[in-house]
């Protein structure tokens, strides 16, 4: 199949960048979107042009590395699908497809479609962990977890930290990512000791990184390749309020 691509090209962080048009004549409907970019890059390399830089790693939809906005939607138009798992059979022969990097001030463009998402790492470092004795790991069944809570923790833990929620949010907020981590750890007994300090520290780091506030439009949950539900943001808000209250009690 023939596809027309409009791709964001930006040489480095300081370059202004612009959309460039490319044609790929020999794409197959069975290719993934990243394979389409591979084919384009082979063509560009043989023509002596700089290949399009893009992030990718596992190519099986679980690492969260592939980050691009395809036809205006993070990870493209298919629901619950990462870019690497998006296949060209969902497009029509002759389609024009726009490809842009995730747009957020906290995700600066490194080159072309590659953005720096270390702001997410800083949020995780601020509180997205549990304290556990290492070296003498407890028996896996030592701490029983109610089924409902285990299920909800698992749903939230499906977050791969790709940043699609930020890319989709009209306010550039990472609230869905935050909410997923707060819910994932907060639903489990192992997450209780740091429950209050976690939410306070992660929210503070989120704001310090320059992410915007949530307006509950739901664009994030729609764009999320792992279908993290919007109510994790409500959980985040509730935990934050409870943490502020308990901090006041103890002070």
């Amino acid at each position: 199949m023939r596809l027309h691509l409009k791709v964001w090209r930006q040489h480095d962080a300081d370059d202004r960048g612009a959309m460039r048009s490319y044609d790929v004549d020999d794409a197959s409907p069975d290719m993934s979107f990243l394979e389409l970019l591979d084919v384009l890059n082979e063509k560009l390399t043989t023509e002596g042009e700089e290949p399009v830089a893009f992030d990718h790693d596992c190519r099986e939809g679980i690492c969260g590395a592939c980050s691009m906005v395809i036809d205006g939607q993070p990870h493209g138009p298919e629901k619950a699908t990462t870019t690497c798992q998006l296949h060209l059979r969902h497009f029509r022969d002759g389609d024009t497809i726009t490809v842009e990097p995730f747009r957020a001030g906290s995700f600066p463009v490194v080159k072309d479609l590659v953005v720096d998402r270390s702001a997410f790492d800083r949020i995780i470092a601020a509180g997205g962990y549990v304290s556990a004795p290492t070296g003498s790991a407890p028996d896996a069944h030592a701490v029983p977890v109610p089924k409902d809570q285990a299920d909800r923790a698992f749903t939230a833990a499906a977050c791969i930290g790709c940043g699609a929620c930020v890319a989709a949010c009209p306010n550039g907020s990472a609230s869905l990512f935050l909410g997923a981590k707060i819910t994932h750890l907060g639903e489990l007994p192992q997450g209780q000791p740091e429950r209050d300090s976690r939410v306070l520290a992660m929210v503070a780091e989120h704001d310090a990184a320059g992410f915007g506030g949530c307006t509950n439009t739901g664009e994030c949950a729609d764009a999320c390749p792992k279908e993290i539900p919007l109510d994790v943001i409500s959980q985040l808000n509730r935990d934050y309020l409870a943490a502020r209250r308990s901090r006041r009690r103890s002070a």
Partner: protein
């Protein structure tokens, strides 16, 4: 101040103003009990809790609370809108909205339109400056003159403003409940439906008055 805290400020001030809107709407419906009932209700609002509080005391307390709520609401909206703008310095060349409702997308400009309407509304029916009659205490006559068929442009403006309020409340109420942590997977759909029904009833209650006047039902 953390964005989450600003959201609480936004939700709490919005809740205060929404409570007022409900009471205001119910008070307006006195017009269906006759001109005397509406005027008497207006007078009662001023003598409420007398002599414990002075004449119009309760009304002034409400006005102060509403002003504080309005300032808090607008202030948090401005701070959050500026943060949102700063959070995406480079815009997408192509990004159609897919999920957010019309109500969610129009909260900011809708809020500005509502604020402008409130200014007009106060000059019209509180101070009487822009009212065709504008006699203090003659509430029924002022309302009747406002929504008379010959004064149709005011009616149209009023109807559009009330619908804007309804759209604002539809997203605002649901969003506020989500902000206060009242939403989970089981209640999310129910809360959205509740907000929609609430907004629809509010709009219907407010529009009943101008339509009744225009079509000569009261």
């Amino acid at each position: 101040m953390p964005s989450v805290v600003l959201k609480y400020v936004m939700a709490a001030s919005g809740a205060a103003m929404l409570l007022y809107l409900v009471l205001h709407m119910l008070g307006n419906l006195k017009i269906f009990f006759g001109a005397g009932a509406l005027d008497a209700y207006s007078a009662w609002l001023r003598t409420l809790l007398e002599p414990a509080v002075p004449y119009s005391g309760v009304l002034w307390v409400i006005r102060v609370v509403l002003t504080v709520a309005l300032v808090a609401h607008v202030w948090s909206a401005i701070v959050l809108a500026r943060r949102a703008r700063a959070a995406r310095p480079v815009r997408y060349t192509h990004r159609p909205p897919v999920q957010g409702s019309y109500a969610a997308r129009t909260m900011r400009w809708g809020g500005v339109i509502i604020a402008l309407f409130v200014v007009y509304h106060l000059l019209d029916l509180t101070t009487g400056t822009l009212n065709p009659i504008g006699v203090h205490g003659e509430v029924y006559d002022n309302v009747a003159a406002d929504f008379a068929p010959s004064h149709w442009y005011a009616t149209i403006f009023y109807v559009l403003a009330v619908v804007t309020v309804g759209i604002h409340v539809r997203h605002g109420l649901w969003s506020g409940l989500q902000t206060f942590g009242r939403s989970n997977a089981r209640t999310q759909r129910a809360l959205k439906t509740f907000a929609l029904v609430f907004a629809a009833l509010l709009v219907a209650g407010f529009l009943a008055v101008p339509f009744a006047v225009t079509f000569g039902l009261v």
